[in-house]
């Protein structure tokens, strides 16, 4: 029996190997453009994960990258591309030409994806919405169903619950047992942490349990949901992490330019994902100046809460 405060610290390699097998549904990119678990995505590519279902609202380049690396057979998302540059070349190639393989897409909106994860989090089979009515998404995503509000007789769309096998969540800090603190942009992070069967927490900083539990209201999920904790500084690069580092816009633009062709994409994967043996290797390749340029410099600490009695 694992005690609720026993360490769940693993290396990223171990965590992905144990908790993201082939065929998993994986929720990532829950904070929209921030705190995207790129380190975890790179590790999935290095481990040649296959047949993943990716779940997330908008994923910036992470989903595009995993699609281009052949890890993905299905995407459940509201938007897939490159926020800085627009279209994602790999996503387009997969959808339009089946390169590197066929890709099924369940179209969502940000509201419907948040609603589906909320339904998963509260254990409801579905939640009705008045969005989506009249749209093509009702056809292109057959998981939505038409319904009626029995009180008013008005049409609604029933959004079925999403309960991903695993949510990979990058957070600012956590203890070794997986009590995690995330702040700033949250997106659907809180819903995903509860809707997923299990959670891999990736933290820029590991703190003591006492420090984390000094603010239990900020904790993301209860111990039973946490499968693993990974300490990976700059693990959300090139996306931003509030209080830790800013977004590296240039990296997104360069990815866009270089992934335009299959060959360019292969070269990008080699250089940035496959050749480095782990995330530290990737960061070394970026160079310390690049990380220094985005590192947070001016602390803005919050007014603490007081749990005293």
């Amino acid at each position: 029996m694992t005690g609720p405060r026993e360490s769940k610290l693993l290396t990223l390699r171990e965590a992905i190997a144990r908790f993201v097998p082939d065929g998993s549904s994986v929720c990532m990119g829950t904070a929209l453009e921030a705190a995207i678990p790129y380190a975890a995505g790179h590790e999935m590519i290095r481990q040649r994960r296959r047949e993943l279902t990716l779940v997330g609202p908008i994923s910036d380049i992470l989903f595009d990258l995993l699609v281009g690396a052949g890890c993905v057979s299905r995407v459940v998302a509201a938007w897939v591309g490159n926020v800085s540059a627009g279209l994602g070349h790999n996503y387009r190639r997969a959808c339009e030409q089946g390169i590197p393989g066929p890709l099924a897409v369940e179209d969502h909106t940000n509201l419907s994806l948040a609603t589906a994860l909320l339904a998963g989090a509260i254990g409801a089979p579905y939640i009705p919405t008045r969005a989506l009515l009249g749209t093509g998404l009702l056809e292109s995503n057959p998981r939505f169903r038409a319904g009626t509000d029995p009180w008013s007789g008005a049409p609604v769309v029933l959004v079925p619950a999403l309960t991903p096998d695993v949510a990979v969540l990058h957070v600012q800090r956590a203890d070794a047992a997986g009590h995690a603190h995330a702040w700033g942009t949250l997106g659907v992070t809180r819903e995903a942490a509860l809707a997923a069967r299990r959670v891999i927490v990736i933290a820029d900083e590991i703190r003591s349990t006492d420090e984390i539990l000094s603010d239990p209201n900020l904790v993301l999920a209860p111990p039973g949901k946490i499968a693993a904790v990974v300490h990976e500084p700059f693990g959300a690069f090139p996306s931003p992490l509030q209080g830790f580092y800013a977004r590296d816009h240039d990296f997104f633009h360069r990815y866009h330019d270089e992934s335009r062709t299959v060959e360019g994409n292969r070269a990008w994967l080699e250089r940035w994902v496959l050749e480095p043996s782990d995330w530290k290797g990737f960061l070394a390749r970026l160079g310390p100046e690049r990380l220094d340029a985005i590192r947070a410099r001016t602390p803005r600490p919050s007014l603490p809460v007081d749990l005293g009695g």
């Binding site: 929209l32 453009e33 908008i58 938007w79 926020v83 940000n110 009249g134 093509g136 949250l186």
Partner: protein, 261 residues
């Protein structure tokens, strides 16, 4: 007024004009679903001019009553959080939207049709798309649920189509009464602001109508860049030329000219 007395027009870019036109759509005190790029600047412009009490919502969970102090590339950039009046989740923001509390939302699109429907999912048949576009993001939700919405997009003939292949963000569907019929609670599009012109919608036919063409454009040029037989408002006119002061304000909102140059 003799030609000599005319004020010397300040030079401005298409996008600066679009920002100012979009900013004018915001009324004071409104809750505005802001989005990124030009709408974000329109919000900043409106806050500094006629709508100081407007509130901006972002679908990542941020609510601001003042624009971020730095140019943002994405809504989740770190400068967008300090000074926020609320930092919560997508579900909470979408909840305000679905409650009907968002007065105005801005959205873009790859394609639009004569009834203001937008497509950001598929060009061609969605079962075998010629182009797979990124998808809705929150655009469909804003179009469905905000009390009114404004579209901002570049105008090109192939993007202004009689009928879009796929409705991502619903306008007025196939015409008047459609939104009520399918059950959409929001009010639909109130304006389309493009690189060439401003369009509004005829309340009887729910059809897009040319309201004003930008300085340097003409009714004919706008017609040529529209993929259907465009109706022209009886009182069509030139979009008001921004004042030097207005342009200065837009530039202060985007000092590097990242989005407007």
């Amino acid at each position: 007024m003799s030609p000599a007395a005319r004020p010397i027009p300040t030079r401005f870019t298409e996008r600066e004009l679009m920002v100012i036109a979009a900013g004018r759509e915001i009324r004071d005190g409104e809750m505005v679903f802001v989005g990124m790029r030009l709408p974000l600047l329109a919000f900043a412009f409106a806050k500094r001019t006629h709508a100081p009490s407007a509130i901006g919502l972002f679908e990542n969970g941020i609510v601001r009553d003042s624009p971020a102090p730095e140019t943002l590339m994405t809504m989740s950039d770190t400068p967008n959080i300090p000074g926020a009046v609320w930092s919560t989740g997508t579900r909470e923001i979408m909840g305000l939207l679905q409650q009907g509390l968002v007065d105005l939302g801005f959205i873009g699109g790859a394609e639009i049709d004569r009834h203001g429907n937008l497509n950001t999912n598929y060009v061609g048949d969605w079962r075998r798309p010629r182009v797979r576009l990124p998808g809705s993001g929150g655009g469909s939700d804003i179009a469905s649920l905000s009390r009114r919405f404004v579209v901002i997009m570049p105008q090109e003939k192939h993007r202004f189509r009689e009928r879009v292949d796929f409705i991502t963000s619903p306008g007025f569907g196939d015409g008047a009464g459609w939104r009520q019929r399918v059950g959409l609670p929001g009010g639909g599009p109130s304006a389309v602001i493009t690189t060439l012109a401003v369009f509004r919608f005829d309340p009887l036919t729910a059809e897009m109508v040319l309201a004003s063409y930008h300085p340097g454009q003409s009714v004919e040029r706008v017609r040529d860049a529209t993929g259907w037989d465009l109706r022209i408002a009886p009182d069509v006119r030139e979009t008001p030329t921004p004042s030097a002061e207005e342009i200065a304000i837009v530039r202060a909102c985007d000092p590097l000219g990242y989005w407007t140059r």
